[in-house]
Every structure is written in structure tokens, then in C-alpha cells.
């Protein structure tokens, strides 16, 4: 039964502020506790997602963008946020309600022959906490797997990471295979990793390049908003 309407607006607002504050303090246990308490008090889990957790992680991302916090703080805040997201989503499923439609579906992976995963993992965490559904294929992923997953999940974006100059040609292969599969016109591509840059994106025909994970989220967000 939904009881969200019965919760006073002021109480809800103060509860959301407390959740945002706990995310800003990287306190995963407190985030979980506050989200559970809010749900128990009848606050709509969807509102918790949209009005507390998502703005909280966006603020953290902005602070990172302004060099006010470090990468570790960004990641741990994202993890704290994600712990709250999981609880809210679980409750929505228990109520047999759909979680809000993801803002986009993203397939991510590190290209074949390359095992560097840190940047890709950060992007995944930031995208998930920003409301995107992410399918992380992991490291050393053949181009075919990117394409297969993109077709299967009707992906909006395919993102590939390459840290080595010897492995970045795989990103070109992904572009070709997406074209061969006939889905290149409905899926965006984004590349990143130490061996890549804007020129390389242009050369292989990728839609976007991001220098780091935070820029990656911004690029995807802007592209999706334009697309919608």
C-alpha cells in the first residue's frame, strides 16, 4: 500500500536533506538507515530516488568538477548513494511498482586485449547513480560482445575504454561491427581511456570522446537529453 501522500511535506524534505547530507559525508551505513526510515515512515521510494539520491550524487559530481573533492570521495559517495538506491528499488519491486524508467541504457566495457578497468568502473558507478541502466561487460571484451549486448538490451550508448595504443584499434572494430549489425544509426558511441582523444574519435567515427568519467557522464547526459 502506498502511504507516501500521508507524509508531511516538511518531514519529507528534512528526510531528503538528511539523506543528501549522509551521501556528502560518504556515510553508506547512514544513507541505508535513513532511506529505510523514510520508507518506513511512508515516503514514496520513487521520490527518495528522484529528490534525494539523484540530486545528492549530482552535487557530488559537480563538486568533483569544481576540484573541491577528490576521486576517492566521489566514488565512495557514489557507493553510499548506490546503497540507498538499491534499498529504494527493492521496495518498489516489493510494491510491484516499476522503478522509474532508466534515463538511458548503456553498454560498457574495456576492449579486447586491454585489462584496464578503473576509469570504466568509475563511469559505471556514476552513470548508475545518475539513473542510467548500465551493462558492464568487464575487461578484455571482444567487439562482437559489445554489439550483441547492444542489440539485446536495445542500448542507447556503447562505451568502450582503451588504455593502450596497441588496443585502441579495437574501438574502430566496434564501430564497424555496429554498422554491420545495422544498429549504428540508433546507438550512440563514446570512447575513452588513456590512449584515446578527440582526434581518434573523429578518425574512427565514434560520436563522442570523454577525457574522464565525470566528463563521460556529462556527455552522455547531454546527448540523451538532446535525443529525447
Amino acid at each position: 500500500m502506498r502511504v507516501g501522500k500521508t507524509v508531511a511535506r516538511e518531514q519529507m524534505s528534512s528526510s531528503f536533506e538528511a539523506i543528501k547530507d549522509a551521501v556528502a559525508k560518504y556515510d553508506e551505513d547512514l544513507v541505508k538507515k535513513l532511506v529505510r526510515e523514510a520508507i518506513d515512515q511512508g515516503v514514496d521510494p520513487l521520490k527518495i530516488l528522484n529528490e534525494a539520491l539523484t540530486p545528492a550524487i549530482r552535487e557530488i559530481g559537480d563538486r568533483f568538477g569544481r576540484s573541491e573533492i577528490f576521486l576517492t570521495e566521489l566514488l565512495i559517495a557514489a557507493n553510499a548513494c548506490m546503497a540507498g538506491v538499491e534499498i529504494a528499488k527493492k521496495r518498489l519491486l516489493e510494491e510491484k511498482r516499476n522503478t522509474s524508467k532508466p534515463k538511458g541504457i548503456i553498454v560498457l566495457g574495456t576492449v579486447q586485449g586491454d585489462v584496464h578497468n578503473i576509469g570504466k568502473d568509475i563511469l559505471k558507478t556514476l552513470l548508475e547513480t545518475s539513473g542510467y541502466q548500465v551493462f558492464d561487460l568487464g575487461i578484455d571484451v571482444p567487439a562482437d560482445e559489445f554489439v550483441k549486448k547492444a542489440v539485446l538490451e536495445k542500448a542507447d550508448f556503447v562505451g568502450s575504454s582503451a588504455l593502450l595504443t596497441t588496443t585502441r584499434p579495437e574501438q574502430k572494430v566496434i564501430e564497424k561491427k555496429l554498422r554491420d549489425a545495422g544498429i549504428r544509426n540508433r546507438v550512440h558511441t563514446i570512447i575513452g581511456g588513456g590512449a584515446t582523444d578527440q582526434d581518434w574519435a573523429r578518425e574512427i567515427g565514434a560520436d563522442y570522446y570523454a577525457a574522464d568519467a565525470v566528463e563521460g557522464v556529462q556527455v552522455i547526459r547531454k546527448a540523451m537529453e538532446k535525443h529525447v
Binding site: Y26, S67, E68, I69, F70, L71, T72, E73, L75, I76, N79, V115, N117, I118, D121, I122, T125, G138, I139, D140, D197, A211
Partner: protein
């Protein structure tokens, strides 16, 4: 463990101190002022020809014993007071000296204005790594009463301690009145010395009439003195380190005797300036190879004789270039690692110019050196075995894929261990990103940061009562704007 850079053994320090006592007893000090000579004669010294006074060893030791080992230099804000002898890190005190401001963007020297000085002090007020400020400036617009002007400009722009240097005895009184007003009375000023005044001995082993008059004025008013000894090696001091230090020590000790006889128990700081004489150019240098060596010895010397030493870091370079960074780093680092308790940092051009952007270079060097002074902690938590285990346990496709970025251990220890900056005055992006951001030089980035600080930082203003007192003092002593 913590680093502790030593350059002198206990026996070598004893030999330097014994030599200083020998110089005072057998070579004597030239003292121009008759009244001061009379004071010394009445307390066990002997007088020779040509105004030379010989100091007995027992008198020097007695006076040194009555000189406080711990000295406080106060600011408007008591929380920012410097207590030399009790602090964790060496205090860092940037210095405004003389008439030039270096415009780093146009690479030009400009005649210092009141605004230049106040902006410099404002940036000092903002930076956590700066503990106080020292002002001695002969701005052409002032004509006289330079110490009063320097003090007034300083306290207006910072709540940190403001030290000053006297160039004319007559400016002591109005400055003292201002310090008294800020402290809230004469007795309060004695408890919280807001006014620390530097004055110089003349090398070798001399006190001029004017210096003696100032010593007497400081003792009479109970104003905290800082005695500067400047004997460039090979010029007015021996070219050897041991001899130069012994001579300067004797000069300081003779000034301390005069002050203790006038006002027993008063704190007397020692400003030990390390200088060398360049035999090619005929110039006095403050950041040559020899100066780096003396800088290193300062901490040991002050511990040995027991009085706090303020020692300068003074690059000779004329612009913000590689030479400037080298000279600043090579003086600051050994001086801090050697344990010197307070460091007075001049700008460039052998103390003749100051500059705002340089403060940001200094800021980072101080952060880095403080970190070095903290050493490496080795304990179960810093060894991080559990964290390494946890990260290594993450395996994907037969490979370890864990990392430390998302570990709470990293969150807890990153800033404490690494002391990273949160701005990009020091450029750490990729070259491509740096180019995208405009490909700016260090000086350009530092300049932008300085502009931002000047725009946003507001030092706590003086109260209406103090502003009124300044007007009153100006009128009373006929001091112009």
C-alpha cells in the same frame, strides 16, 4: 620516524659558542653610545680604547639565562599568535622589504604602493601556510615614520602577527601607541606582544648610536625586540661558516646583554641572516651555496643557545624563473628540515622586491616540507594489509581487477598521507587537458588565483575605535597618509 637534518655535532656547537664568548671577552664590541657603555661598565664590562667594550663570560651567560626560551609574537586574533618553541612546524613569515613590487605578468619592477603592500598582506592573511608577516618598507610616498606606516598597513589587512623593523627611533612611540590601543592597554600589550621590532647590529661586532638608542627605547617601552645580525661571509664576516656563525652569535649576545641590563627577563629574538659575499660580482648573496649550508645549521644553533632564531629565506633571482624556484627551495628545505623555528621569507632580488604570485609557490613548498617533517608512519593501518587483501580478492576473467580508489582506507588516508592540493595552480592534468585549459604557465595560473583571493577574501576589518585611534595618532605625531 621524523626527519632531523643535522650538520653540526655537539662538540662543534660548543666550539662555536665558546668562540663567541671569547670574541666578546677578548676582541670586544664597538659601542658608539656613551650611555650604553656606562651601563655595561657598571655591570662588570671593561672599556678599552675606541669605544670597545669587553664582556665577561659570566655576564653574558647570566643575561642569556634570563632571556626567555619561549617567545610569543601576537596577532590581532589571539588564535593566530605564534609561540616559538611550542609549535609543530616552523613558522613561515613572508617579508615586505624596500620599495619594489615585482609585476610577474609584465616581468617588470614597479615602485611599491600602499595597495601593493596591503594586497600582499591580504594574500598572506588568506593562506594557511603563512603564520605572520614582516614589514619594513620605505614607500616614497611616506617620507618618514616608516615603521608606523608599515604596522598600520599590516594590521589593517591581517589578523595574523605583524612584525616590523625600525628605521628611525622616533617612529617607535606612535607605533607603540597603536599597538597599545589594539591590545587594550599597556599591561595587556606586555602580556600579548603585538609589536615585535627588528633592529640590526653592524658587523663586525658593533652597535651604532642609533641602534643603541633604539635598544634603549624598546627596553623602556617593553617592546619585544628581534636583533638582526648580518655578516656576509667573506665581507663583514669570516668566509668560513663556523667563524661567521660565532661572530654573529657574539653580536646577538652583546645586544641581549644590553637589553637584559635595561629590562631583565625581556624576550629577545635573534634574526640570524645568512649571507655570503660573491667575489665575482661584489654583491651580497642570500641564496648561494654557502647560504644553503648556514640555513641548515639554524635549527641546531637555536637549540644550542636556547633562544628562538628567525632566519631568512631570500632568493637572489630577479624574476619568477627557474633560479627563483631553485633558490627558494634549496634555502627553505634545509632550514625547515634543520629545525629552525621561524623562517622569514623574502621575495626576490636579494630581498629588494616582493611579489604575490610567489606566495603560492611558497605555499606549496611549505605544505610539501611540512609533510616531509611528519615522516612516514608505519603501523598496522598504514601497512594496509587488509585493504591490499580486499583489493586483490577482486578477480575477473582470471585477472585481478580491484583498485584502491573506492576503498574507505584511501578516503581516510589520502589527504593525511599525500597532502594533495585542491586547486590547479600546480598543473597536474594531461598535456592535452592543460592545452585545452589555455596552456597557461605557472605564473599565469598563480596570478589568476591571486586575483581570485584578492576579490573574495575579506580580512577582518579594524574596529571603529582603532580607526579613530589611528586618526588621533596621525594628528598627534603629524604623520601624513
Amino acid at each position: 620516524m621524523k626527519p632531523d637534518l643535522k650538520i653540526l655535532s655537539k662538540e662543534e656547537l660548543d666550539a662555536i659558542y665558546t668562540s663567541a664568548l671569547y670574541l666578546l671577552r677578548n676582541v670586544g664590541v664597538n659601542i658608539e653610545d656613551q650611555e650604553t657603555r656606562k651601563l655595561l661598565m657598571g655591570n662588570g664590562c671593561d672599556e678599552g680604547p675606541n669605544n670597545i667594550v669587553y664582556f665577561p663570560e659570566w655576564l653574558v651567560k647570566d643575561c642569556l639565562n634570563s632571556t626567555p626560551k619561549e617567545v610569543t609574537i601576537c596577532g590581532r586574533d589571539p588564535k593566530k599568535d605564534m609561540t616559538l618553541g611550542r609549535q609543530k612546524y616552523p613558522y613561515v613569515i613572508p617579508h615586505v622589504l624596500n620599495v619594489n613590487y615585482y609585476d610577474a605578468i609584465n616581468q617588470d619592477y614597479v615602485t611599491t604602493t600602499r595597495e601593493n603592500v596591503q594586497n600582499f598582506v591580504k594574500v598572506c592573511d588568506y593562506l594557511d601556510t603563512v603564520d605572520g608577516i614582516w614589514i619594513v618598507t620605505m614607500l616614497p610616498q611616506f617620507k618618514e615614520m616608516y615603521m608606523f606606516h608599515g604596522f598600520e598597513m599590516g594590521i589593517r589587512s591581517t589578523t595574523k602577527p605583524v612584525c616590523i623593523t625600525t628605521l628611525e627611533t622616533q617612529s617607535v612611540e606612535p607605533t607603540y601607541e597603536l599597538a597599545t590601543a589594539i591590545a587594550g592597554g599597556k599591561e595587556e600589550l606586555k602580556k600579548r606582544p603585538l609589536m615585535t621590532v627588528c633592529m640590526c647590529a653592524v658587523s663586525p661586532l658593533s652597535w651604532t648610536k642609533q641602534a643603541c638608542d633604539t635598544l634603549k627605547a624598546l627596553a623602556r617601552w617593553g617592546i619585544q625586540p628581534a636583533l638582526a645580525t648580518e655578516a656576509p661571509m667573506g665581507d663583514t664576516g669570516p668566509v668560513t661558516f663556523a667563524g661567521d656563525i660565532a661572530q654573529k652569535m657574539a653580536e646577538y649576545l652583546s645586544g641581549d646583554v644590553i637589553l637584559q641590563l635595561l629590562n631583565k627577563g625581556m624576550a629577545v629574538l635573534w634574526i640570524n641572516v645568512h649571507e655570503s659575499f660573491d667575489q665575482r660580482t661584489g654583491m651580497v648573496n642570500l641564496a648561494s651555496h654557502g647560504d644553503f649550508v648556514q640555513a641548515c645549521a639554524m635549527g641546531q644553533i637555536e637549540k644550542h643557545i636556547g633562544v628562538p632564531i628567525l632566519s631568512p629565506v631570500s632568493p637572489d633571482s630577479h624574476m619568477l624563473d627557474m633560479q627563483e624556484a631553485y633558490e627558494l627551495g634549496f634555502t627553505l628545505l634545509p632550514q625547515m628540515l634543520g629545525g629552525n623555528r621561524a623562517i622569514v621569507v623574502h621575495g626576490l632580488d636579494t630581498t629588494r622586491a616582493f611579489n604575490n604570485e610567489l606566495l603560492l609557490l611558497l605555499d606549496d613548498m611549505v605544505v610539501a616540507t611540512r609533510r616531509l617533517l611528519d615522516g612516514i608512519d608505519v603501523n598496522p593501518e598504514t601497512l594496509a594489509i587488509d585493504v591490499i587483501k580486499n583489493v586483490c580478492s577482486k578477480i575477473e576473467k582470471g585477472r585481478r581487477v580491484g583498485h584502491f580508489l573506492d576503498q574507505r582506507h584511501t578516503l581516510t588516508w589520502y589527504e593525511r598521507e599525500q597532502r594533495p592540493r585542491k586547486d590547479f595552480v600546480f598543473e597536474k592534468h594531461s598535456r592535452e587537458k592543460w592545452m585545452e585549459l589555455g596552456g597557461k604557465t605557472f605564473v599565469q595560473r598563480a596570478h589568476e588565483r591571486v586575483e581570485e583571493i584578492l576579490k573574495t577574501h575579506k580580512p577582518e576589518p579594524l574596529s571603529k575605535e582603532i580607526e579613530a585611534k589611528i586618526v588621533e595618532i596621525r594628528r598627534k605625531y603629524k604623520i601624513g597618509e
